[in-house]
């Protein structure tokens, strides 16, 4: 069906078409080179082994012998880490967000520096922060909490600063015209406007961080990841599958809970006019 109408369309110039072909062939060649570079033929030798692992994963015959108490405890620990990290990050990010907003801090140099600090916290992955904090404060959930806190502070502070940038200044003027202090201006003029963004972002962060926190344990920063990595290393594939299922269930239930809370706290987009 393309042949029937194609001749009706104007054809692009020959040079352009040649360029497109050239770029297309070049990109394809580069991809083939990448496939070769990363030993893609190993996929075919690996697939039978993967099949063996998957079969082992599905065999839950010894379900009753597994250490359920330990696994569940670690799972709760993971969620607690995510909650603590995010809550602390929110508390730190809120004042930082004010400092990074254009309409609160007029000094451009100061604002630039604050925003670069956010970028620094955000640019390194939580996982790398966890590795550094494990070295600094030792193995255990505290390193994970601090890693989540630092990385999330960068993310939230940036979002809060943007939210504050976009507020309606008329409300602030209104508060100021009653002779209120600067703090009261922020509290009654700015905060009510950014509260919906703040709550929904914090909830969303708890969701995504409980996902992320499951892997922090791989470097010893507490939570279910540690148990998972132990079980992968001793090739206890049935238990690996069980832990993954646990993670999936936990993440799904936190998603549901946070969606419900979000609806409950801020209402639909139309409710707060």
């Amino acid at each position: 069906m393309s042949g029937a109408v194609a001749h009706l369309l104007p054809r692009p110039a020959l040079g352009r078409r040649a360029l497109h072909w050239f770029l297309g062939v070049g990109a394809l060649a580069y991809l083939v080179y990448l496939l070769w570079l990363f030993d893609f033929d190993r996929i075919f030798t690996g697939l039978p082994k993967l099949w063996v692992i998957i079969r082992l994963m599905l065999d839950w015959g010894r379900f009753t012998e597994w250490d359920h108490a330990e696994l569940l405890r670690s799972m709760v620990e993971t969620v607690a880490m995510a909650y603590l990290g995010t809550l602390l990050a929110t508390l730190i990010a809120l004042p930082l967000g004010f400092l990074g907003a254009r309409n609160i801090v007029p000094n451009a140099v100061f604002r630039f520096l604050t925003r670069r600090i956010f970028d620094g916290c955000r640019g390194l992955d939580q996982f790398i922060w966890a590795l550094v904090f494990v070295r600094a404060v030792g193995l255990g959930p505290i390193a994970g909490i601090l890693a989540i806190m630092v990385a999330e502070t960068g993310v939230l502070a940036k979002l809060f600063a943007e939210a504050i940038d976009n507020i309606d200044l008329k409300q602030v003027d209104g508060i100021r015209s009653t002779g209120a202090s600067r703090v009261a201006e922020l509290r009654y003029g700015v905060l009510p406007q950014i509260l919906p963004v703040l709550i929904s972002q914090a909830l969303y962060s708890i969701e995504s961080n409980s996902r992320e926190a499951t892997i922090l344990g791989l470097v010893g920063a507490g939570g279910i990841g540690l148990r998972l990595s132990e079980r992968i290393q001793i090739n206890a594939w049935d238990q690996v599958a069980y832990v993954i299922v646990l993670i999936l269930i936990t993440v799904a239930s936190i998603d549901t809970l946070s969606r419900w809370l979000r609806l409950r706290l801020i209402g639909g987009p139309s409710q707060r006019g």
Partner: protein, 304 residues
């Protein structure tokens, strides 16, 4: 209007009740948040004593990251100093001395970016294919929609690093396992976004193609794809940014890239190399973010 006015009194009464209700609600939420906080803190051993113990060590560690120890007994000194800044590779406190293994890092960083490129392309293609059966408006068969949606969900919920860790066993240590893990995750998350985009597509062009006798494939190709292209491209690039970030850490489980080197130097406590690698990772992530943002704006501007 005086305080004796009945309308005024009614207003005061209602306003007061509303305020009290609001205040109770706020207090209740605050108490719950605090309670969960305390329970979590107890559960994870996040006590003030431990924090107070740990905080100086954090400072110490970060100080070590930015200092060198000339010999075993000598006190450590700052990693950079003005007079030596542009001295050669043998001159301590110069940039060249700090980044003395820059060629190794550069090769690994380039490998990391290439892993992200390949994984993004593979995931993008798979997501593109899976997005059409997962879109409710485009596929009549409910079972197909359900199965492809659960498949996508499964792919994006397993943490990438865990996936890489598992895939290292069958496919061996090296970048291949990392590429596959990132590609699978990309498929899951892009597939969801793509299918949502496809569901929002205007169905009239599809009907037009069907009326002209086009097959399902032709309907998708000429009815849906042209509408979705800007969204597909911009989400794809956004995902590429995220994948660069992930591929820097995927090496911790032996799946290639700069992460493998970072894990090694952290394990051996080679402090100045840790800070050097972290700075390079930060630079490359920010650079790719900026680049892709520019390309994205350009593409969207050109296509819409």
């Amino acid at each position: 209007m005086t305080s004796a006015d009945p309308a005024w009194q009614l207003f005061e009464q209602r306003f007061g009740a509303l305020r009290r209700a609001r205040r109770t609600e706020s207090t209740l939420i605050f108490v719950i948040v605090l309670l969960v906080f305390v329970v979590s803190a107890v559960w994870t051993d996040f006590s003030p004593v431990k924090i107070a113990e740990g905080v100086p060590r954090i400072g110490e560690y970060f100080e070590k990251l930015f200092s060198i120890q000339p010999s075993q007994s000598a006190p450590s000194e700052a990693i950079l100093a003005w007079p030596h800044l542009f001295g050669g590779i043998r001159q301590p406190q110069s940039i060249a001395y700090w980044f003395y293994r820059f060629n190794v890092y550069a090769a690994l960083l380039w490998q990391t970016v290439q892993m992200a490129i390949l994984a993004s392309v593979l995931g993008y293609c798979a997501a593109f294919v899976l997005a059409f059966p997962a879109a409710r408006t485009l596929t009549g068969n409910r079972v197909v929609v359900f199965v492809s949606r659960r498949l996508l969900e499964f792919m994006r919920t397993i943490p990438q690093v865990v996936l890489a860790f598992i895939l290292v066993w069958p496919f061996g240590i090296g970048p291949l396992a990392g590429v596959l893990a990132i590609a699978i995750h990309t498929t899951g998350s892009l597939g969801k976004l793509f299918s949502e985009l496809s569901e929002n597509a205007d169905l009239r062009p599809v009907e037009g193609v069907r009326a002209a006798g086009g097959s399902w494939l032709a309907q998708m190709r000429y009815g849906v794809v042209p509408q979705m292209l800007p969204g597909f491209l911009s989400y794809g690039l956004l995902r590429f940014e995220i994948n660069v970030r992930s591929s820097t850490i995927i090496g911790f489980v032996g799946a290639g890239g700069i992460g493998q080197e970072l894990k090694r130097v952290i394990g051996f406590n080679i402090y100045e190399e840790v800070s050097a690698i972290c700075i390079l990772i930060l630079l490359i992530v920010v650079a790719i973010d900026l680049l892709s943002e520019r390309v994205r704006h350009r593409l969207i501007g050109g296509l819409v």
